[in-house]
């Protein structure tokens, strides 16, 4: 397991998966949660979700957290993953502030 924190932006999928995993959750739960959080805009396909979970596990941003009552594998965010989310929020704030500053001035 390699713990790395890259500067590159997170994908929308990775960002929402990490947010979902502040509480332990299984794959299907993540799909549902992301859909609700984004008001139906982001639908994660199971193939995409599986690939993203595998990468996040490899990076050490999330860990396996045992199995749920229905014997489904659950995952949870790590401290390192939380740091990645903080970095991303910081980046998003910058994007948002600049976007508002420029478009807002013209409106």
């Amino acid at each position: 397991m390699t713990l790395t924190l890259e500067k590159s932006p997170l994908t929308e999928a990775a960002y929402y998966i990490l947010l979902s995993l502040y509480e332990p959750m299984h794959g299907y739960g993540i799909m549902q949660n992301v859909k609700v959080m984004s008001s139906g805009r982001v639908n994660l396909g199971p193939g995409t979700l599986y690939g993203a979970i595998s990468s996040l596990l490899e990076k050490g941003w999330i860990i396996s957290a045992g199995e749920s009552d229905s014997r489904k594998k659950e995952y949870q965010i790590t401290e390192f993953g939380k740091k990645a989310v903080d970095c991303e929020i910081h980046r998003l704030e910058e994007l948002l502030a600049n976007g508002k500053k420029i478009t807002g001035a013209k409106q």
């Binding site: 299907y28 199971p46 193939g47 995409t48 489904k72």
Partner: protein, 184 residues
């Protein structure tokens, strides 16, 4: 009631389309073996099908873990052949899209491209070996190796067909990569 039919389909997209048309009519695939499709009668449109190429054989631990994960999300593997699997999901639980971002779509297409291109290279090497035998027979032994010549012709034609299969995902990857420059 169960029905089965034989069919030779080389293009997985056409196959997928056909399976979904059958499912819409209430004939849902639940088995495949050596070109023989087995269907069960269900209510029309109950299932949506997708065909997926796994990175490993379906019995490998990696694939077992992946298929188990899919099962947890309501996607069931009904049959497999080589590294290809036939997946289905109940239509009532929403659309069936395995891959929803460009990255993972490209990864899936690369797996396909690599599979076909591996075969193309293999064909090319065997064809070249046969061609060498034809030339050797003709120039050194003074005899035409008709069998080997036949092999060369056959392999070249097959190779071109496989190359075409590989070029399809390659073209899609190219256009997705262009798209990726400006969006996720």
């Amino acid at each position: 009631m169960k029905h089965s039919t034989w069919r030779w389909i080389s293009d997985y997209e056409k196959e997928e389309k056909w399976l979904n048309e059958m499912a819409a009519k209430g004939m849902s695939l639940y088995g495949f073996f050596m070109g023989k499709y087995t269907f069960e009668e269900t209510e029309p449109g109950k299932y949506i099908y997708q065909i997926e190429l796994l990175e490993n054989f379906p019995t490998s631990p990696e694939s077992v873990a992946y298929l188990r994960f899919l099962e947890d999300t309501g996607v069931i593997c009904v049959a497999s052949v080589f590294r290809w699997v036939y997946l289905r999901k109940e239509a009532a639980s929403g659309p069936f899209e395995l891959y929803t971002d460009i990255d993972s779509k490209i990864k899936r297409l690369s797996t396909m491209k690599n599979l076909w291109f591996t075969f193309v290279w293999l064909e090319f090497i065997i064809a070249a070996a046969n061609l060498a035998m034809v030339i050797y027979g003709w120039l050194v032994v003074g005899q035409m190796a008709w069998f080997n010549l036949g092999c060369v012709v056959f392999l070249v034609i097959l190779g071109l067909i496989l190359l075409n299969f590989g070029l399809k995902p390659a073209r899609k990857i190219k256009s997705l990569k262009r798209e990726q420059l400006i969006c996720e």
